[in-house]
Symmetry: C2
DNA sequence: CCGGTATGTTACCCGTGGGTAACATAGCAG
DNA sequence: CTGCTATGTTACCCACGGGTAACATACCGG
């Protein structure tokens, strides 16, 4: 049973003497949902408690304070992204292939609630120490991507460019996913991931002869990091005519 | 004299009977600065007043309430971006060229405080009506970009792809600029813009023969939309070894 | 020099939300 | 059944920040 990708169980607080870990998890998940819906600042602990049909002080049995909930969201999300990326370095050969794998894995993580939290919530709401922890992690992510690019340039699979700026561009495109992605939207995570990989590695420009943008019929579709993907709207795609920034949730 | 790109004049509130418009402008600019430094939610009107060496109620002579300040930031930023983009459609030919021009102009706008406000501040802090206004504008931006891509695909200058997702990728990369760009950082706006244009249109992959990434020695450097760019750090670039998400301001 | 007015300030109200102490009870052990 | 303890609830405190009313004064015209 997956503890990260599923929604919070509504009856977690049904019985009084119940699994404490399960309750803590339910608190965390509903908090993450609300943080994504309304932002951390506009979410009160009463909101979280209400959605769980409890009262605010009950939450303090599972978390020391509001910030600890936020930090835990970051930690879970960071773990999620980390484990998604961990196995790409050994599996791939060229720098370009590694970047492509990075894009696929990262885009996917950006469609999971906790993953979205990592890039969408505001570090400014964390204490000094916690912020340092999160930043250190993000730095590691960036270094990884940049080293892939660097490697690709050296070996010739990637065009000469400033690896730092290129990494900013790719990471930006990926990070922004968490701003517009909706779980119930028309675009499936793997569709997004494969299209992003195409645009970012091969660019928009029509190469002389090469490339027909590969339709998402790759063999690795169907399941990624334990979550099942649904092929939604295969015939009538792109119904959701939104944009740079989409209507907010709820 | 440019009213948008300059910093707020410190002595704006020096004399009591002074230019009211100038004071209003000073309030707006310092507010925008603080919103970018600490976020809207963590910026109190006392903070704004303190930086201007006045007291909170004085601000209410120039704005009805806090939200009106925020909305005005959006409006100025939106105007900024809009006018930067307005003259690219006529000037360029192919869809690909238009997209490239879009990237250059937009990236540039994302390095101006008010431009950054548009994508970085949280629409959730606006009232229903104001949010609608801002969203309508962002929708227009997105439609413009998407139509350029569409045009490029039809005429063959852009590779076949999903224009919607491609637009998301490009807009995401560009929007994210406002999250890491620092006016006093090592990267100059036009350097960022031209590198972004390269990566996004031609992609990372090394084409068989083509391309050496054009260094930013283009003729249009030096001045863009009225602001003078300084060539910083030309010899020792890329000193700032940050990442996916950079240290916050201040 | 003298009012009058635009501009700012001091002092305050009040809603909101994080956090806590004291109390209530569900559910198990014996 | 009896009481003990983990779990929740009620009732509260307090800081903070948006917003306002009433007062003070700098500057201008006359």
């Amino acid at each position: 049973m997956d503890l990260i990708h599923t929604d919070p169980r509504p009856g977690a607080f049904a019985s009084r003497r119940g699994d404490a870990a399960a309750k803590r998890e339910a608190v965390l998940k509903t908090a993450a949902q609300l943080f994504l819906e309304k932002s951390y600042g506009r979410t009160s602990l009463n909101d979280v408690a209400d959605r769980l049909s409890v009262t605010k002080p009950a939450l303090y049995r599972y978390f020391r304070n509001k910030e600890e909930i936020l930090l835990e969201c970051y930690r879970v999300g960071v773990g999620l992204i980390g484990s998604a990326l961990d196995d790409i370095a050994p599996r791939c050969g060229t720098g370009l292939e590694r970047v492509e794998a990075f894009i696929l894995a990262y885009a996917n993580a950006m469609t999971v609630n906790f993953g979205r939290c990592v890039m969408r919530l505001d570090e400014g709401d964390l204490s000094e120490d916690a912020r340092g922890e999160v930043r250190a992690y993000k730095r590691k992510l960036d270094r990884r991507l940049r080293s892939f690019i660097q490697q690709g340039i050296e070996e010739g699979s990637i065009a000469r460019c400033d690896p730092k700026i290129a990494a900013f561009a790719i990471a930006g495109a990926l990070n922004w996913i968490c701003m517009w992605y909706r779980p119930d939207g028309a675009l499936s995570p793997q569709e997004i991931a494969s299209q992003f990989a195409g645009v970012l590695t091969r660019g928009l420009a029509a190469g002389e002869s090469r490339r027909v943008v590969r339709k998402s019929t790759n063999s690795d579709s169907g399941k990624v990091d334990g979550r099942r993907f649904v092929k939604k709207d295969t015939n009538n795609r792109h119904r959701n005519h939104s944009l740079l920034y989409q209507e907010p949730h709820e």
